[in-house]
Assembly symmetry: C2
Homo-oligomer: 428 residues x 2
């Protein structure tokens, strides 16, 4: 047998249905917020990612040389491709430009629980609107998406990288030392951050103030201890979030996200059920376009780890929707086979999901198969009933069976179909 490559997954019908349901929920919410989908290639020139994340990322990517000798890489994330697309082709679109995307990403590392070599991200970027309202819109969208997923337990923590950056600057830290310190603070490894801050010439008091800052969490009032522009900005973001009805957010000045291109607010959503790999969403405002050869444009966005949300939902015992056809049509005899196909076609043409015996099986085996594929009803096409213009319809859950007029079959089952396909209903 040929195995699938290590660290990748196949998804069977049941798993795919649950995944598509979540994806469609995400899409619906994003579109309600006025975001529109874009799609970029599975692979990019490797330099796109080294420009954004530094040369070390090459080690963590599926990178290979194409026949023209250029370094190509399977995309490790989707923000860089989205911003490359923006710089190349979308700068003339009306702003703010609100886009979302969903797709596979790849990282070349030892596969482990909750981390796959091929994984899926759902993300959004709001480009060209440098206001607190934009950041609130992005956080509000992420919050609405996690809420619609059905996840019960999660925390949304919002910080502002500017609070910390200005504190480091005021303490006299040189620009070139900031990134290293932020990376250690991001991971909360204070025993490594402290020596770096000392090397940067910070006083003991300033160092403790920084540590205290990154441990500051709570309601918006905790910002009062750290006056300044960044705090004011964050306060406005929280005010808009309140107008949006998003109240399950807290300030966490320890959200640092150790990457250079973040410029303002930063936020994370955790699902505690996931343990060490608990982060399901990360985002913030950033500046990347100028790295890719464009003008500087304010952007804010996030990415949701789609697989992690799926795993968190599973751990919470989330029950996914039932799928499966409404009707399974069974000809009782060989002479009824053509009739059975016509009936199946009529149902399908009327929008009813229907299946039909393709194996020339006995009635009993057909019932068993209909049950195994989760069909709601069996439609039994018999000579005698058809002669009287009827077919038998059996409810496969209750076992109840009744005769239905042939010309009322579609309307009868259409009611069942619209009941079952709640996906298109008015739910949130």
């Amino acid at each position: 047998m040929i195995q699938r490559p290590r660290g990748t997954r196949d998804f069977g019908p049941k798993e795919m249905e649950a995944r598509r349901d979540l994806e469609n929920d995400f899409r619906r919410v994003a579109e309600r917020f006025g975001f529109r989908e874009i799609e970029t290639p599975i692979f990019e020139h490797a330099e796109l990612f080294t420009l954004k994340s530094g040369p070390n990322i090459i080690e963590e990517m599926y990178a290979f040389e194409d026949k023209g000798g250029r370094q190509i890489a399977l995309r490790p994330e989707l923000t860089a491709p989205a911003m490359r697309f923006f710089v190349n082709d979308l700068t003339n679109m009306p702003r703010p430009l609100k886009v979302y995307y969903f797709g596979q990403c790849f990282r070349y590392e030892r596969p482990q629980s909750g981390r796959f070599r091929e994984f899926f991200q759902f993300g959004a970027e709001l480009i060209g609107a440098p206001t607190p309202e934009s950041d609130a819109e992005i956080i509000g969208l992420a919050a609405a998406m996690i809420a619609v997923s059905g996840l019960g337990e999660y925390r949304i923590r919002v910080g502002h990288i500017g609070v910390l950056r200005s504190m480091l600057k005021d303490a006299g830290v040189a620009q070139e030392m900031v990134a290293g310190i932020l990376q250690k603070l991001d991971k909360k490894v204070y025993n490594e951050a402290r020596p770096l801050m000392m090397d940067a010439g910070m006083s003991d008091d300033s160092i403790e103030a920084v540590v205290k800052l990154t441990e500051t969490t709570g309601p918006v009032a905790v910002l009062d201890e750290f006056p300044g522009e960044a705090s004011d900005y964050l306060r406005t973001v929280f005010k808009v979030l309140e107008a949006y009805g998003v109240t399950n957010v807290e300030v966490d000045l320890g959200v640092v996200r150790g990457l250079d291109y973040y410029t303002g607010i930063v936020f994370e959503i955790d699902a505690p059920k996931l343990g060490a790999e608990k982060q399901v969403c990360g985002g913030g405002s950033y500046s990347l376009t100028e790295l890719f050869g464009g003008e500087k444009v304010f952007s804010t966005g996030f990415a949701i780890g789609f697989d992690r949300v799926m795993i968190a939902l599973e751990r919470e015992g989330y029950k996914s929707k039932e799928h499966g056809v409404i009707a399974y049509v069974i000809p009782v005899s060989e002479g009824m086979r053509t009739q059975a196909h016509s009936i199946a076609a009529e149902m399908r043409n009327s929008g009813i999901a229907a299946d039909v015996d393709l194996m020339r099986r006995s009635l009993g085996k057909n019932f068993k198969y209909a049950d195994s594929i989760g069909a709601r009803f069996a439609v039994i096409v018999g000579e005698n009933e058809m002669a009287e213009g009827s077919v038998a319809v059996r409810d496969l859950k209750s076992g109840e069976q009744r005769l239905v007029k042939r010309n009322e079959l579609v309307s009868t089952l259409q009611k069942e179909e619209s009941g079952a396909r709640s996906r298109c209903g008015g739910e949130n």
Copy 2:
């Protein structure tokens, strides 16, 4: 600027909406036929594809070595991965197993019109039901999918590889020479096929009979000239297709599909508007599982070239559905900003796609933006109107403006939303 890799594409919002509409139409039809989605990784071990298509395919694939020294390839098609998945994990599922899939495929060749290095396929496989009904089901599904796409001009041509194979066998052609001859006949290069048939010891009469066979097209009656098992089988397939109401199909015994693993019926759908690259769908019954280490299982399926259908629709001037938010909320003054956000949130929570000013723009600039993103209505939130419990709603197509009670706003716009979102309606 960093360019996207050669032969790949980015899809902007408008193009993505048209593509997702088509994809969703395809999904809906497949699910109505009782097919369920599966998904496999973007890359596979290269041997999966060389086993199926021969070693030459390596040259046409994006292949690279992983860190473990194994040959990995970006998938050039989706049938082999689907059957690998079946052999590995799905052999215990109830049969027939009906699956569909949609995703990116890759081929490493000079990019040209209608052929991309990254392209999209939508396919379906019906596994484990060795009956003419199964073949009819697969052809019926392909026909229903092309019909729902809105394509006006296309031909569905169905043949049976067995008719030709048995004629070659009867003419004394050795088994090992069959594949080479079929490949030439598939491409209708008779000047190359003839010498091969002569080398294989065929008489002039048999050769001309073969040529005549591959030029045979028309209604099912043309099969009368070629009696035998394969013709009888094909006749039954056409009978079931008729019961399904699929009458726009014709027999074409020249559909050969020059690959060894096809075993019975073979079919193609062409869109003449596409010129040389006119084939939008190809399929047939085949046997692959035993190549991948499983038991031999009858399978029948097809793949639709998603990009080609999109291009054919464009050439026919197909007008895609309008998307865009229902409402764009504009605060008239700074004091109304929070109200505007609350109104946008209320609409979104009620299932209405809504956007809101994030740029603190003037009324005039907001109208311009609302228009540019295709919003249907502007909701104007002014101090005086709000004091009287109303907002102004302006139809951005007609320019008409009226006052709507604040507490009736959602129900008023919900009616517009359900009108616009015909995607979830009862259409075919």
